[in-house]
């Protein structure tokens, strides 16, 4: 295919996925392999006083690993290194790993797990961010605070006096399970001679690599991490696989045999990371003309028992908290706090869905107070090119939120529907009718690592050519369903003018590929894709520089040039290292400057129905309009948006984590409900293309964006339908019933 960028090129590994040939970690098996399980803490917090082995179990056949068996350092190397691989003497959450078992018989293993008795001298635990903030118990550090940020622009304190209105609000979001359909799993082979090799389901091979170097105290070249086909991640396989890979490797190290560790759904849901619950307080000063004067935002997330990635999640949530609006005075104070629940972690959007939900609900409230429509109020405050965000980042690209809003309203027939629903809702005064409403959210999402993150990462991509003229891309960026293989192949094919099938993507394997950074933060297409572009460009330049390739060449000339070069010099390989776009400055101390190289901009419109008999709120239609730079592959891009919106609809109306003493009580797909094919409305996706100068082919990041806008759009629509302003998600029928029936009683 000529010029594949911008075309709906079919998924590179599509054939093996539709035929069942794709190999996921649980599909692999090694001779003499053992299975394994994790024995976890029976209490939320306390001192381990005794471990005993009961039952009629042949314990001498088992490989048993405790903290004492760890050859290196007992922590999961990440940010603060506070999370142990195995608790030594104290547990801080009710699913904390204490002991590991391996045996060839996986049925016997389950029985054995039930017969390990861990005794805990319990200490008081805290399970909510409110209890953590008021220091009901100090469970982490001196004040339960993992991290705090302060963004301070202008002078908020002086602005209140000039306000015509001051509007306050408080908003909450709940935990959410990533619920990739493939559970977490790893297989390890480990011994002193060869070191440690792990195969697994993962997003970030080099995160695991870094963690296992410390865990085993081995040199870097003795640790090798290989990604197997990965059945979804959504952030849930960003940091957690370091733990499960380490556990499998410890058992392999001790037993001398290959060890497979696969979580079942119940364990995956109860023990692994979820989206951080949050609470946001807004205080907003606004003029009678509806101009924002000051925004004071207090944003708190519940990090769970260990720090893990909470500081970075908090960072993204903080920076997105003031949205795509221009306001002269902004103060955002944010904290990530500790509780005795399993650590919360990365999940698509990474803090931004929480703070954007709050802001976009609050903007509707402010509009109402001022007496403007939600639309008009936003139009008066949208940010434009040349204006600055909350972190004082000057927007240097043409941004036209007004135009996006107009288009999204056309696609969704917003005005006509708003009018019709108002008429019909008030006309239907009989009991138990269906009310309808329509609402929207406007937002932006920064792509790539925050601030100086990409500079610190120094990502590398390599490209090599074979004598047959096949170009191989070597990167640690993983295909987890989002389309990495296809997008990288499109970029390389376009850059070199070669056939799409002449490009091969090498399986991520730290023994073979350079560190192109983690597969997170909507960075794979935009940041790593750019490195793919420059790495393959390097191949072309090398061939041209050695006089083997003319300026204009055919596919066969390219192949011949590769063959000639390799015959002469042995091999042909080039690498490319990240270079920041010009004029990007970030101050980590003051949290001011260019937070992201590029933002995607979006308007999402939700139409809902609310059934007064069943209290079911249902999304009936959804329009997702976004400007994401150049669209590299329209089918993959729309698939990202549709999937993200569906996940966000789940976050809003379906997915309720029920907590009991710090433990997820509904850790089954039977009672933690994600949307099914029968639940999802038509999701209508529209792209506005405005090529970004520093992205490959003009692309910006896209993966996280669709998680941001649905929740506030849906709750804004529910307010439009019912007249009731709900301030938290998930919004379950039980809560709708509770609130609505109380209101009915109050009126009768």
């Amino acid at each position: 295919m000529d010029h594949p960028i911008g075309k709906p090129v079919p998924r590179k590994e599509g054939r093996k996925k539709v035929t069942g040939q794709a190999l996921y970690v649980d599909d692999l098996s090694f001779p003499d392999m053992l299975h394994s399980v994790t024995v976890r803490s029976p209490a939320a917090r306390g001192k381990i006083t005794n471990i005993s082995f009961g039952g009629n179990i042949p314990w001498d056949e088992f490989t048993i690993v405790t903290a004492k068996d760890i050859p290196g350092a007992n922590y999961v190397a990440l940010i603060l290194n506070d999370q142990p691989y195995l608790a030594e003497s104290f547990v801080n959450h009710p699913e904390e790993p204490v002991l590991l078992l391996a045996h060839a018989d996986k049925y016997l293993l389950e029985e054995a797990r039930r017969n390990v008795h861990i005794e805990i001298e319990e200490q008081p635990a805290i399970f909510s961010l409110t209890d953590s903030l008021v220091k009901k118990e100090i469970i982490w550090g001196e004040d339960n605070v993992f991290k705090k940020f302060l963004v301070d622009k202008g002078n908020v304190d002086d602005a209140w006096a000039n306000a015509d209105f001051i509007v306050e609000g408080e908003y909450e979001t709940g935990a959410q399970e990533q619920l990739y359909i493939e559970n977490n799993g790893a297989i390890a082979i480990a011994n002193e001679t060869d070191g440690v090799t792990v195969w697994g389901s993962m997003q970030c091979p080099y995160y695991i690599h870094k963690a296992l170097v410390k865990l085993f105290g081995l040199p870097e070249e003795k640790i090798r991490i290989i990604q197997t086909e990965t059945g979804g991640g959504f952030g849930g396989k960003e940091e957690y696989p370091s733990l499960i890979a380490g556990h499998a490797a410890l058992l392999a190290w001790k037993s001398g045999k290959p060890v497979k560790m696969i979580y079942d759904r119940a364990e995956d849901m109860v023990a692994t990371t979820k989206r951080h619950p949050s609470r946001t307080r807004h205080k907003t000063a606004v003029t009678r003309d509806g101009k924002l004067l000051a925004m004071e935002i207090d944003f708190v997330i519940d990090g769970g028992a260990y720090c893990t990635l909470s500081p970075v999640v908090l960072s993204r949530g903080t920076i997105h908290a003031a949205g795509p609006y221009v306001c002269p005075n902004v103060r955002i104070h944010s904290r990530a706090v500790a509780t005795n629940v399993p650590p919360h972690g990365a999940f698509r959007g990474f803090g931004a869905p929480q703070s954007i939900f709050s802001l976009e609900r609050h903007m509707d409230k402010v509009a109402q107070t001022v007496g403007l429509t939600p639309e008009e109020f936003r139009r008066r405050n949208f940010i434009h090119e040349g204006e600055t965000t909350a972190t004082s980042q000057m927007i240097r690209e043409p941004v036209d939120m007004d135009q996006l809003l107009t288009q999204a309203f056309q696609h969704s027939d917003y005005h006509a529907k708003r009018e019709r629903f108002a008429r019909e809702n008030s006309a239907s005064n009989g009991r138990f009718s269906k009310k309808r409403g329509i609402g929207f959210a406007s937002f932006m999402h920064g792509a790539g690592f925050t601030g100086s993150g990409e500079v610190y990462l120094q990502s590398v991509v390599s490209a090599e050519a074979t004598a047959e003229g096949i170009v191989r891309i070597l990167a640690a960026s993983t295909e987890i369903g989002q389309g990495t293989n296809t997008i990288f192949s499109q970029i390389a094919s376009e850059t070199l003018g070669l056939d799409f099938d002449s490009i091969e993507i090498v399986q991520p394997d730290t023994g073979r590929v350079p560190n192109s950074g983690p597969t997170v933060a909507s960075r794979t297409s935009m940041v790593v894709g750019k490195l793919v572009e420059s790495a393959v460009m390097g191949l072309k330049q090398t061939l041209a520089g050695s006089g083997l390739l003319p300026d204009k060449y055919s596919e066969s000339e390219f192949k011949k040039a590769c063959a000639d070069y390799i015959a002469k010099f042995g091999s042909l390989k080039t690498s490319s290292t990240y270079q920041p776009p010009p004029n990007v400055h970030w101050d980590d101390e003051k949290y001011q400057g260019d937070a992201y190289g590029a933002y995607a901009w979006a308007i999402y419109v939700a139409e809902v129905s609310f059934d007064e008999l069943t209290y079911e709120a249902r999304v009936e239609d959804f329009v997702a309009l976004q400007e994401v730079g150049r669209v590299l592959n329209p089918v993959l891009a729309a698939g990202q948006i549709e999937g993200g919106v569906a996940q966000a609809i789940g976050f809003t109306l379906f997915e309720n984590v029920v907590w009991k003493e710090g433990r997820m009580a509904n850790n089954q797909m039977t009672n933690y409900i994600i949307p099914t094919p029968a639940d999802i409305p038509p999701i209508r996706v529209y792209f506005e293309e405005n090529p970004y100068a520093y992205g490959p082919g003009g692309a910006k990041g896209i993966g996280e964006l669709p998680m941001d806008g649905a929740a506030p759009a849906i709750l804004n629509a529910i307010e439009n339908a019912t007249g009731v302003s709900f301030t938290q998600v998930p919004l379950m029928p039980e809560q709708l019933m509770d609130t609505m029936s109380k209101m009915e009683q109050a009126f009768t």
Binding site: G20, Q178, I181, G231, R265, G481, V635, E642, P677
Partner: protein, 151 residues
């Protein structure tokens, strides 16, 4: 006990516990790993297979129940290297992303089109309602089914 059945047109005989899950027998004894486990309790449909023309979750089927049965797994959907129209449509129209629900989803779609060769949108939603996907938001899966029967 010994159980005899046909899998993807081939006679197979396995030795196993009567209550062993068909899912495990297929994956571990017959090495047909295209059938996936997502939840182990019949909610997600990743382990979907077709038994005697009926679509079922193989995690809920005990081995003893399939003696003499005719079973189709994802490995038996393409014939002689030629993809089924549903498989081709999933590739061409974005019906598969991470691929873990895909074998089950493809079988559910094949079964749906067999029962109802021209399903409307509602038929497709209901026909696939036992299969969960976390990547696609289902839109491209619905489109793939439509494209498959239009062929």
């Amino acid at each position: 006990m010994q159980i005899n059945f046909r899998v993807n047109g081939e006679e197979r005989s396995v030795e196993g516990f009567p209550m062993a899950r068909l899912l495990d027998v297929l994956r571990e004894q017959l090495h047909l790993t295209g059938t996936k486990e997502g939840c182990g309790e019949g909610e997600c449909g990743a382990c979907t297979v077709i038994i005697d023309g009926q679509i079922v979750n193989s995690c809920l089927v005990p081995l003893a129940q399939v003696n003499g049965a005719e079973i189709t797994t994802i490995e038996g959907v393409a014939g002689n290297g030629e993809l089924h129209a549903v498989q081709q449509a999933f590739i061409d129209h974005g019906g598969a992303q991470c691929g873990i629900c895909t074998p089950g989803m493809v079988l559910a779609a094949v079964d749906l089109l067999k029962r109802n060769p021209q399903p409307n949108e509602n038929d497709i939603r209901n026909g696939l309602a036992g299969n969960l996907c976390r990547c696609t938001g289902y839109m491209k899966i619905f489109e793939s089914v439509v494209r498959a029967y239009q062929k």
